[in-house]
């Protein structure tokens, strides 16, 4: 626990200082990292800790973005706290019924059912043009943070200063809460479900109910991430709910390593910065990303964090042998 806390605080300090040091552009990338970090913390509670592969998590990211759009644009509520509240409530209201249906199944069936729900939401957004704006999507206006409008700032400064720190705060809180969750009694029951659901039942673990709670928590985390994305882009559009977006969320999680707590956060950061630099270098960036995914899946199933841990263990091993000789 000690090392994790130190690493966590160091990262937090570095990220907090970034706006004073870095150019605005990398800060906009970090903003995307905060949004995806939250979404992946939720996804990994489901995937890494409870053993359920959701292939429709983008549904909740889109839900968050559209909540931000409806609040700021249609209802004129500009307080970000209100937007977050609406996004969380919407996520729960959608996640409970969808979850009730999905948690009865596991592995491939759970994945396909969540994919079907994701695509249902995508075609609803696309289809009911008069309500949702169809493929044009819905604009998201700039919110006020803790009541402050910062109207004297242009949007880039707003995004890379106050909104940046607010989003970093959300990610920090989200990370601490998730850390407590997975290390709580509730967390060990989730891990038991992942390892052996039948045996867990015999030890009194309410498998379906806990899977549903994990599904709802994952949905809420993804929706909060979605509001950050919506405000950063200034628009919520149906592509956010497309199945390939869910695929990318899983790509990031496995890239970082789904069997460790920090894996998804590392995966999100690496994915965002890697894709950004690739897109400027070659028009065939999808090919390169596809190959990176193949290498990770085949050679480093425990992801980058798993790789780092293995290297660290080996280094410690060498040092111990060296001392022993």
């Amino acid at each position: 626990m000690k090392l994790a806390a130190v690493v966590g605080l160091a990262a937090l300090a570095a990220l907090a200082a970034a706006p004073l040091v870095l150019e605005p552009y990398p800060l906009t990338l970090l903003l995307q990292f905060f949004a995806y970090g939250l979404a992946l913390l939720g996804l990994n509670l489901l995937f890494g800790y409870t053993g359920l592969l959701s292939f429709g998590q983008a549904l909740f990211v889109a839900l968050g973005a559209y909540s931000a759009a409806v609040c700021t644009r249609k209802l004129g509520w500009h307080s970000f706290e209100l937007v977050l509240g609406v996004a969380v409530v919407t996520a729960v209201v959608v996640a409970v019924p969808v979850g009730l249906l999905c948690v009865r199944y596991v592995s491939i069936f759970f994945g396909m059912l969540t994919l079907a729900f994701g695509m249902l939401f995508h075609s609803f957004l696309f289809k009911f043009y008069t309500v949702t704006g169809g493929d044009g999507g819905m604009l998201v206006e700039r919110p006020s943070l803790l009541g402050m409008r910062f109207s004297e700032m242009d949007k880039t400064t707003f995004l890379t200063r106050p909104f940046y720190w607010y989003a970093l705060g959300l990610l920090a809180v989200g990370t601490v809460v998730m850390w407590r969750l997975v290390h709580s009694p509730f967390g060990v029951h989730l891990s038991a479900i992942r390892e052996n659901p039948r045996k867990a039942e015999y030890l009194g673990v309410e498998v379906r109910r806990l899977r549903l709670i994990a599904f709802v928590i994952a949905g809420v985390y993804a929706a909060v991430g979605g509001t950050l994305l919506g405000i950063r882009t200034g628009l919520a559009d149906p592509e956010l709910a497309y199945w390939t977006h869910s695929g990318n969320l899983i790509f990031m999680t496995v890239l970082g390593g789904f069997s460790s707590f920090a894996g998804p956060l590392v995966g999100a950061a690496v994915f965002i910065f890697l894709q950004d630099s690739l897109m400027s270098v070659t028009q065939y960036w999808r090919l390169v990303m596809g190959m990176v995914l193949v290498v990770i899946v085949v050679l480093f199933p425990r992801g980058l964090v798993g790789l780092a841990q293995a290297l660290r263990a080996r280094v410690i091993g060498w040092r111990r042998d060296a001392r022993a000789d």
Binding site: P185, F186, H189, A192, E195, N196, A200, Y202, G204, V205
Partner: protein
Amino acid sequence: MPALIETRDVSKRYGSFNALSGVTLAIAADEFVSIVGHNGAGKTTLVNVLTGLLRPTSGTVTFKGMDVAGVGPVRLARLGMARAFQLVHIFPGLTVRQTLAVAVVSQTGKAFHFLTSLARDAQVQERVEAVARLFGFEQLDLEARSLSQGAKKLLDVASAFALRPEVILLDEPTSGVSTGDKHQIMRVLVDAAKSFGVKAIIQIEHDMDLVSEYSDRVIALHQGQVLADRPPAAFFGDAELVATVVGKRRVRD
């Protein structure tokens, strides 16, 4: 003394094959019951019915007076009935400590403690260490998958005991363990039962030495029916009964 578990005229049919027919039993506190019989005599089906996994085709099953027919293992675990399997069931990726903690968390009703730290929960850790000590586990932070086959079996049973159940059903607890250790395990089970206040142990067992030495009641099943229900001495005294239940040669393994 009121019966802990009671079945009245329970039968279970799979299509035309009736695995159990007309089984009426009552198991009270302080009994160590062994269920014996050929493979296919209905032993496992009976345990599945008793543990709420299977709903009987007809008849009633009550636990502490409550009808528990087919109610499912989760509720029964909460009511105080635990079960360990013939095939080892463990959580490969969890440590010994975590495995036992899963049972203790259920039993102490802390499953919905979202934000408290499990590691720093004194009550839970204390109970975990007590069970571990009793079952002879020194290193609690080893992953279950890295344990020996015997240790895995022991952990499986230990996690059932960690539920502090009133009744525990064991499906051949010593199978796959060398004959030398069998008695050692049985002694651990009996001590654990005593110290955790387990009221009754029901076990499916093929090894007649263990049946005669430890159980104080033998229920013999044959083609889904209760052939005999008597103390070990009376059971082993009746050669003809032993022959039909156990078959000609004595079980050596």
